[in-house]
């Protein structure tokens, strides 16, 4: 081991996350490797190792001949301080080599508040932050993940983005890079060529011009770059790579279990949900495929827990037969099967009892809004009656704890909607009093509210966010209306969600703000221990950027949107229609009931949406 590293590890918390060596990691002989990729997750090891997307792409890249992909995570603050003091540059876990020596540096971005981690990791690696400061093919930085659908705040730093699902696109990019390296291309030539790969967006090939009112006036593609970059998807998930043989961490991570992705996309169309629109169309895996993959993954990893994941697992058509088969296997092998994201409207008692046979998981609902009117406006098609019926079933089946998730600040929300949350909580308590089998054990309700953040590619992408002060007023209004000791109420911080809104709908002018914030200590913003709003406010002031312009302004219907070069398959006209329906408190049926023609089935020259 690197002597510098060995000396600092005794000084930091949880050193096991900084050394690699886990079962299932990929080690290659350097003489067989022509292309080295540093695959960076801009958050801690515990978060990044829980991410299934990273495991998929790690597996795919390492299956390529001559390519070695290694993992890199953001160090916790204590480790970062030690690394800086010892002048130990950021390294990849497998080889413990500095990533500045790698050919390609890739990031996967799932959360706006990890943008500063990206910059901080580049800095820690000794790689220049700005793309324009990096010349030559060596050390090209690219990024993908759901946040890449609005790449603009990171346009100054990332050489190119891959939009959509990366299983097919990533090898195409790597092969092109290999050729460029062998033929000694310039960086400019490579970027022009990579922009021709479907789904690749090269920000430096687009000029953004602003009007006098500060909004975007025009986006001009340069050097033959495509006018629209359309996201890539995998047509047939049964044929897609599944990381059955994947790394098993030697230290505890957030989701320490086997993850089985049952389908992609979502039939629901909740109007605030970015993933719900960006991951369309719906493409399931066959239950037989899933069962085979589950057994293979469990046997390989030795995990004692498996999770069926997707945006809404209870909408999986073959859930019952799959759950039945898995349950038998899991019971025989003492494995815990967990089924999250269950929706109130189709969570059957039968299924609940089956799950209970193995282990009692908690009961979770995300009604998101307190009144039927607002739930209709956001198209969260769940009724109070359904929630209370499910609760009654659960309470009589022995459950005694409920988790409830809501949002405050949704478009059209009034005080009546806020108080409706307290009302629903009260009704759940009454239901428990009527149905509980063992009242002595008490009821525990964990209630959480998030601060609504308008996101690109949702019907609410044009909406203004309410101010942090107004959000806090609504939090206190709700707090004042909750009277039961059974309720533990927690709410998201207002400052963080305000920034999230700025970055989510931001444009290129935020680049300097990000760089300023990072140079003045911003990092790990998603963590309360590190988030410092003052740094950000100072950064906005220093760069002459008004954050309210991005978060609290209603974007106009005909406005040029910073992210409009990207096409996720769902038409803007569809999103606008959904927005109008929201204001009329009208719901749109789920995609299984009725196709509303969002356009996502036109991707890849036509794909079957199996809602």
């Amino acid at each position: 081991m690197n002597e510098q590293l060995r000396r600092i590890l005794p000084l930091v918390q949880k050193p096991a996350r900084y050394v690699g060596g886990e079962y299932g990691q990929v080690i290659k002989k350097k003489e067989d490797v022509r292309l080295r990729v540093a695959f960076c997750f801009p958050d801690t090891y515990e978060i990044g190792m829980s991410n299934i997307g990273m495991r998929i792409l790690y597996g795919i890249m390492n299956e390529m001949d001559g390519v070695w992909c290694e993992r890199v995570f953001a160090p916790w603050g204590d480790m970062e301080a030690q690394m800086r003091q010892a002048q130990l540059p950021l390294y990849a876990l497998e080889s413990q080599d500095p990533i500045r020596d790698f050919d390609l540096v890739a990031f996967t971005i799932g959360y706006e508040m990890s943008y500063t981690n990206i910059l901080n990791m580049l800095d820690l690696a000794g790689i220049p932050l700005y793309a324009r400061e990096r010349s030559g093919l060596h050390g090209i930085v690219f990024a993908g993940g759901v946040c890449a659908v609005n790449p603009e705040p990171l346009a100054d730093f990332i050489d190119f983005f891959s939009i959509g699902e990366g299983e097919e696109m990533t090898p195409e990019i790597l092969r092109l890079y290999e050729r460029a390296k062998a033929e000694d291309w310039t960086k400019e030539r490579f970027l022009r060529a990579v922009a021709q790969i479907e789904g690749v967006y090269v920000p430096s090939l687009y000029e953004h011009r602003y009007g006098e009112d500060g909004t975007l006036a025009e986006i001009i593609p340069l050097d033959g770059a495509p006018e629209k970059v359309t996201k890539r998807i995998i047509k047939d998930l049964d044929q897609a790579y599944y990381p059955a043989k994947t790394m098993v961490p030697s230290t505890e991570i957030v989701h320490d279990r086997t993850n089985l992705e049952v389908f992609r996309g979502c039939i629901r169309g909740c109007r605030f949900c970015q993933a719900g629109f960006c991951y369309r169309p719906v493409r399931p895996r066959n239950a037989d495929t899933l069962y085979r993959q589950a057994v293979e993954a469990l046997e390989y990893s030795g995990n004692h827990e498996i999770n069926l994941s997707s945006l809404s697992t209870s909408d999986y058509k073959q859930l019952e037969p799959l759950a039945d088969r898995l349950m038998d296997y899991c019971e025989a092998n003492k494995i815990n099967l967990s089924l999250p994201s269950l929706r109130a409207d189709n969570f059957s008692r039968e299924l609940m009892l089956k799950v209970q046979r193995l282990r009692k998981s908690s009961l979770t609902f995300a009604p998101e809004a307190g009144t039927q009117r607002l739930r209709d406006a956001i198209n969260k098609n769940v009724t109070e009656e359904e929630i209370l019926t499910t609760c009654a079933n659960a309470f009589s089946g022995g459950w005694n704890s409920v988790k409830l998730y809501f949002m405050l600040g949704l478009p059209t929300e009034t005080d009546e909607d806020v108080l409706g949350i307290a009302d629903l909580v009260w009704k759940i308590i009454q239901t428990w009093k009527e149905c509980a089998v063992n009242r002595k054990r008490g009821l525990s309700i964990n209630l959480a509210t998030a601060f609504f953040v308008p996101k690109p590619f949702t019907p609410f992408q044009w909406e203004a966010q309410i101010t942090p002060a107004e959000y806090m007023r609504r939090v206190r209004l709700l707090q004042g209306a909750l009277h039961s000791k059974s309720v533990d109420y927690r709410y998201h911080g207002s400052d963080l969600s305000y920034l999230e809104a700025v970055l989510a709908r931001g444009d290129r002018r935020l680049g300097d703000v990000l760089a300023y914030a990072v140079r003045h200590g911003a990092r790990l913003d998603g963590w309360d221990e590190y988030f410092d709003n003052d740094i950000w406010m100072e950064a906005f002031a220093a760069c002459g950027v008004d954050p309210a312009f991005y978060a609290q302004r209603t974007y106009q219907k005909d406005e040029v949107l910073p992210w409009q070069t990207i096409d996720v398959g769902v038409r803007p006209s569809f999103l606008w229609r959904e927005r109008e329906l929201a204001y009329a408190s009208q719901t749109t049926p789920d995609c299984r009931t009725h196709c509303s023609g969002c356009g996502a089935n036109q991707l890849e020259g036509g794909v079957i949406c199996d809602a």
């Binding site: 081991m1 050193p15 096991a16 690699g20 060596g21 886990e22 505890e252 320490d256 030795g302 004692h304």
Partner: protein, 216 residues
């Protein structure tokens, strides 16, 4: 109960005691061996590792007791094929001795000096450990107490291994009370601050019974 003897070296020394139990619980499954589980609401695979090792300490004599749902012979090879880097099973015993008979452990504490071992350092350290008593502060949940570590050192040799390193080869009490070999280095740092090394590395070499025989 069956017992594994395993070593923990290289980067695996950074795995904590609790995490190491999880590593083995999974490794048994990977090897196709189902461990016996605890009863109750939240069944857990039963494995027990004797004398938790501090993070960052190497060892060649770790003991893990386990019980299988269906008893069958286990070979080191079978587990080694599925263990992470640095953890290697050396031996599998059908039945281990009672743990309370494990009384001492031998440890090798290496003090490294980047700019060479200071003059007469080995001699000074030898003299230090020949004192009547050697009191160190011990921090525990109950607070800070003063502990004389000398009665817990059964044997100690101090040698200068090369220009940069001094090795303390020690046998110390392992249980009731126990002395963490780290304390030997701490004693040097506390009483001979001018001999504070740049790095300290520790390796647990062997576990022993009261007679000083190898414990298995």
């Amino acid at each position: 109960m069956p017992r594994l003897v395993f070593e923990k070296t290289g980067d695996s020394i950074w795995i904590s005691h609790l995490d190491l139990m999880r590593v083995f619980q999974r490794a048994f499954r990977r090897a196709g061996l189902l461990l016996k589980h605890s009863q109750g609401f939240n069944p857990r695979a039963i494995v027990s590792i004797a004398l938790p090792l501090s993070v960052g300490v190497e060892s060649s004599c770790e003991l893990l007791d386990f019980e299988l749902e269906q008893p069958e012979p286990v070979t080191p090879e079978r587990l080694n094929a599925v263990l992470p880097q640095g953890i290697r099973v050396l031996d599998v015993l059908e039945n281990g001795r009672k743990l309370k008979e494990l009384t001492h452990l031998r440890a090798r504490v290496t003090l490294t000096y980047d700019h060479g071992v200071p003059e007469h350092a080995a001699e000074c350290i030898r003299t230090l450990f020949r004192r009547e008593s050697l009191v160190l502060e011990k921090r525990s949940k109950k607070g800070v107490s003063q502990v004389d570590i000398l009665p817990m050192i059964a044997k100690l040799e101090v040698l200068q291994a090369d220009d940069d390193t001094i090795v303390l080869d020690a046998a110390v009490c392992a249980q009731n009370p126990s002395l963490n070999p780290q304390q030997l280095a701490a004693a040097v740092e506390c009483y001979l601050p001018e001999l504070t090394p740049d790095t300290v590395t520790i390796r647990r070499e062997e576990v022993l019974d009261t007679e000083g025989r190898i414990f298995r």
